[in-house]
């Protein structure tokens, strides 16, 4: 039996969680002597009030869509891929190699090649933990998180070694002109009407939307998705139906890792246009919160990613224009993650109770109603 209508599950719970998070954030901001209402205004205006703001919000959102989808796909097989960070880092390495060493005639070709390489690198990075899980039963949570550290060290090796450009910074050289992606500014601005000025949102955003559609098709329309979901809900059932657990674990993690790796076409190729240390910047972990909040559905992931993009860009504006310290901005972001992710049940259970009461109350059904009034 359904405890709540679906709209409540999909919309109301995140909304209530957000309001709670906003409330506690307001308390935090008050406590450090700032005005929460002003802060909210700065965040909203800075993130959503101009094409410039949207340009940043959607840039961050693009990162989170990729990593969120990565976590979501793995979730459908009940595997917790917390290695999105490392997979994205490796994707970045792939992008950098392709962009630095292959002379492309046009950015479209560069994008295709970079996306494919990023996916392959990310998938390869997920493949080893997947294989350990499938064949040896090593817990994927442990192995993927370990691989984040290995990826970080590997990236470091390349950036202070073979790929390092001249200068002090551990980073690659800038990618050649032909491997740079058009930004929203390039795409939508005209000389009289400058839009998205300086914002890093780029064509990778549309790739992310395509990825959402592809993941939806995969999970809810394809045979593989059907097998992934049945394996996720019940491994014994999957084995009974002749679905090989090894195959599902491997394929799911390869797809998951590939998606996380593809984030690199946005942050490495689209924004930085070179590879720097710590390029993923925690987006792999934000992906977990995004997938949780988005209920592992591509549409939910998309919306949650935009929300987190808003928090990132709004938070940046907050740091720029107020005395609210950076760490408090992180606290606010953390509160949102806490309420939408970890404390889901805290909001869900009371709401379910409200709904079951509401549902009974208007029923003119004589017996139960009279019995209650009689009490």
């Amino acid at each position: 039996m359904q405890k709540m209508p679906q709209w409540a599950d999909v919309l109301l719970i995140p909304l209530v969680s957000l309001i709670l998070a906003a409330f506690f954030s307001a308390v935090v901001i008050l406590a450090i002597g700032e005005n929460p209402w002003e802060a909210l205004k700065i965040m909203v205006e800075g993130a959503l009030g101009s094409t410039y703001g949207w340009g940043y919000t959607l840039y961050y959102a693009t990162n989170f869509i990729f990593t969120g989808l990565a976590v979501a796909v793995a979730n459908h097989a009940k595997m917790f891929n917390i290695g999105g960070e490392g997979q994205a880092v490796m994707g970045g390495l792939g992008v950098a190699l392709v962009c630095l060493y292959i002379p492309f005639p046009h950015w479209t070709l560069a994008l295709l090649a970079a996306a494919a390489t990023a996916a392959v690198f990310g998938a390869a990075w997920a493949a080893i933990p997947a294989l350990l899980q499938a064949k040896r039963g090593s817990h994927i949570v442990i192995t993927t998180i370990m691989f984040n550290f290995i990826a970080a060290s590997l990236l470091n090796y390349f950036l202070i070694g073979p790929l390092k450009a001249d200068g002090m910074e551990p980073a690659t050289a800038r990618f050649p002109e032909a491997a740079r992606l058009p930004t929203f500014q390039d795409m939508f601005s005209s000389p009289d009407n400058p839009l998205f000025r300086g914002a890093p949102a780029n064509v990778a955003f549309f790739v992310a939307i395509l990825a959402c559609i592809a993941v939806w098709l995969l999970i809810w329309r394809s045979r593989l998705g059907y097998e992934i979901r049945s394996f996720g809900w019940s491994e014994p059932a999957a084995r009974y139906a002749g679905i090989s657990p090894v195959r599902i674990i491997m394929l799911t993690m390869l797809i998951s890792g590939g998606l996380a790796g593809m984030m690199a076409i946005n942050n490495v190729m689209g924004e930085a246009e070179r590879l720097v240390l710590n390029s993923a910047e925690g987006a792999g972990f934000i992906g977990i919160a995004v997938a949780l909040m988005g209920r592992s559905h591509p549409l939910g992931v998309f919306l949650a990613a935009v929300l987190f993009g808003f928090l990132y860009q709004g938070g940046a504006e907050l740091s720029l224009w107020t005395g609210i310290p950076r760490d408090m901005v992180v606290v606010i972001q953390a509160l949102v993650i806490l309420f939408t992710g970890a404390l889901d049940n805290m909001v869900r259970m009371p709401l379910e109770r409200v709904f079951s009461t509401l549902r009974r109350a208007p029923k003119p059904d004589s017996k139960s109603t009279t019995a209650r009034t009689a009490e």
Binding site: S222, G225, P236, A241, G242, R360, K367, S368, A371
Partner: protein, 532 residues
């Protein structure tokens, strides 16, 4: 004064879960010092009602009176204080604790365990003598048999001063002899003035053990009658709301060529031999029933034939070898080889509970052209096929979009049976086809299995319900401790003979004393439990 008032009286109890009303205005009385049966189909609301009584759910409306005193049961602690004890279908014991520790758990006198244990040991001894509840207090729970574990649950309740004992489907895991022993214990409890509520769907137990019986149907209390004044047919009709056939109507089999041939099949798991070399064959147009108490290797046998447990030995279908391990030993290859399988556990294997019914009708066959186009699933075909199957198999509600978990047990099983039978298999494997299934659906499922046999298919039936084995099978093989103890023509054997085989006692015609059987049972169930 307590004798005058009913031990339990419920007035106007109602409980809804969302749009589903599980209990509708239920009123009934249980007199003290009696065994009161509650019978009803699965999903009739028996378990909900007992959960309300035990404080797991709160009723939306209604009143509960214990020994004449109205009481508001808010949680299980209140229920325990009111003298209610509950023995669940699935035992709630800590497997690596001793019997004594389990009994004391949650009812310790103080922070120090030692005095509690010492007191419990004395009381346990007294209880054991009083009610014939012999259990070794120092045995570790996971080492003792299912029947023993059930006694521990009863002891737990008595140790907490329960004088009203509720047992939910207590005989599901017991052999007939163990069940008989349980009913003797219940009789002793009754003689000592305790009140027992027995929830079951087995008419025979109601008739044998109870003083009065209440029949529930679709959330409502239909009638409470004295057991002496009723008969199984009447009860069955009350439960289902129409006349039912308790016996399967079938003609004698006309077996054809062998379809499944198994020789010297062995299964080992974690170093323990589960199946120790079994050989048998199933012919076209016959039903071979495999009887046995749960945990004697039948489940493993089905899983091997279903393709998801490795084994050694040999098995052929229509003369073609089935790979028993490695490549080709998987559910998909088995289906391609013409084997359909209704698994023992439909909730964790046969169905994906979180899938809609239409997604489940293709489960296992989803790779066939019927249900997929290229790499995508053919949703339209699945939904159409689901609607058609639901109509042919009378699945209720006939809503393909409903999640599998929201159907009752019987309707879930109908979905599985429909899927597995309608793919035109040469061999049908059926495990516990009617476990947790209501009487109406049992009748239907049995008819379908017989119809498949009559269509010339081979059927291998595994069930722990002797009644079912006897009424469905053409031939019966009994498994005990991983071996087949003997084979009988169903028409030439009886429950007692099979019961002895199930207990591991072979064909020597020496008379068997009750004590011998008991000893044998204890040994067997201990070893079976260890393997499970």
């Amino acid at each position: 004064m307590a004798d005058a008032a009913p031990a339990i009286e419920l007035k106007g109890i109602s409980k809804s879960f969302g749009p589903v009303q599980a209990n509708k205005d239920i009123s009934f009385k249980v007199m003290p010092g009696t065994i009161h049966g509650i019978i009803g189909e699965n999903g009739a609301g028996k378990s909900t009602l007992m959960s309300i009584l035990y404080g797991f759910y709160k009723a939306d409306a209604g009143e509960i009176t214990i020994h004449g005193t109205p009481i508001d049961i808010t949680d299980s602690q209140t229920a325990i204080r009111a003298g209610i004890g509950m023995v669940f279908q699935h035992f709630k014991l800590v497997p690596n604790f001793t019997v004594l520790e389990n009994v004391v758990l949650g009812a310790e006198d103080s922070g120090l365990l030692r005095p509690s244990l010492a007191r419990a040991r004395r009381e346990l001894k007294a209880l054991a003598e009083e009610y014939e509840l012999n259990v070794d207090p120092d045995a570790v729970v996971e080492d003792i048999g299912v029947g023993m574990q059930q006694r521990v649950e009863i002891l737990k309740a008595l140790y907490r001063q329960a004088d009203i004992l509720i047992l939910d489907e207590p005989t599901g895991v017991l052999t007939p002899a163990e069940a008989d022993h349980l009913f003797r214990i219940l009789g002793n409890l009754k003689d000592q003035g305790k009140t027992v509520i027995l929830i079951t769907h087995k008419l025979r137990e109601i008739m044998e053990a109870t003083d009065a019986v209440s029949v529930m149907r679709r959330g409502e209390m239909i009638e409470t009658v004295t057991t002496a004044g009723t008969n199984p047919t009447e009860l069955a009709e009350l439960m289902v709301g129409r006349t039912v056939l308790l016996q399967v109507d079938k003609t004698p089999a006309t077996p054809g060529a062998p379809v499944l041939q198994v020789s010297d099949l062995k299964v080992e798991h974690d170093g323990v031999a589960r199946v120790k070399g079994v050989s048998f064959e199933v012919r076209a147009g016959e039903i071979l029933g495999i009887a046995g108490v749960a945990g004697n290797g039948q489940s493993e046998l089905l899983e091997v034939l279903g393709g998801y447990r490795p084994a050694t030995g040999r098995a052929t279908v229509n003369g073609v070898d089935l790979p028993l391990s490695g490549r080709g030993a998987d559910g998909r290859s088995r289906r391609d080889a013409g084997i359909a399988h209704v698994p023992e556990d439909r909730q964790s294997e046969g169905l994906v509970m979180e899938f809609a019914a239409w997604e489940n009708v293709g489960f296992g066959y989803h790779h066939t052209d019927r249900y997929s186009r290229g790499t995508l699933m053919d949703h339209a075909a699945l939904k159409a096929d689901c609607a058609a199957k639901m109509e042919r198999f009378d699945v209720r509600p006939p809503n393909p979009n409903l999640l599998a978990k929201n159907f009752s047990g019987g309707n879930q099983q109908k979905i599985v049976v429909a899927r597995e039978m309608e793919c035109d298999p040469d061999l049908l494997l059926v495990g516990q086809p009617t476990r947790g299934v209501d009487i109406g659906a049992i009748e239907f499922i049995h008819q379908q299995i017989v119809a498949l046999r009559d269509a010339g298919k081979a059927v291998l039936l595994v069930s722990v319900e002797l009644d079912e084995i006897l009424s469905l099978s053409d031939r019966v093989a009994v498994m005990f401790d991983g071996r087949i103890m003997g084979e009988r023509q169903a028409s030439e054997t009886n429950e007692r003979e099979l019961g002895l085989l199930m207990a591991g006692i072979t064909d020597t015609d020496a008379p068997h004393s009750e004590a011998e059987i008991e000893a044998n049972l204890a040994r067997r169930s201990a070893s079976a439990e260890k393997e499970a």
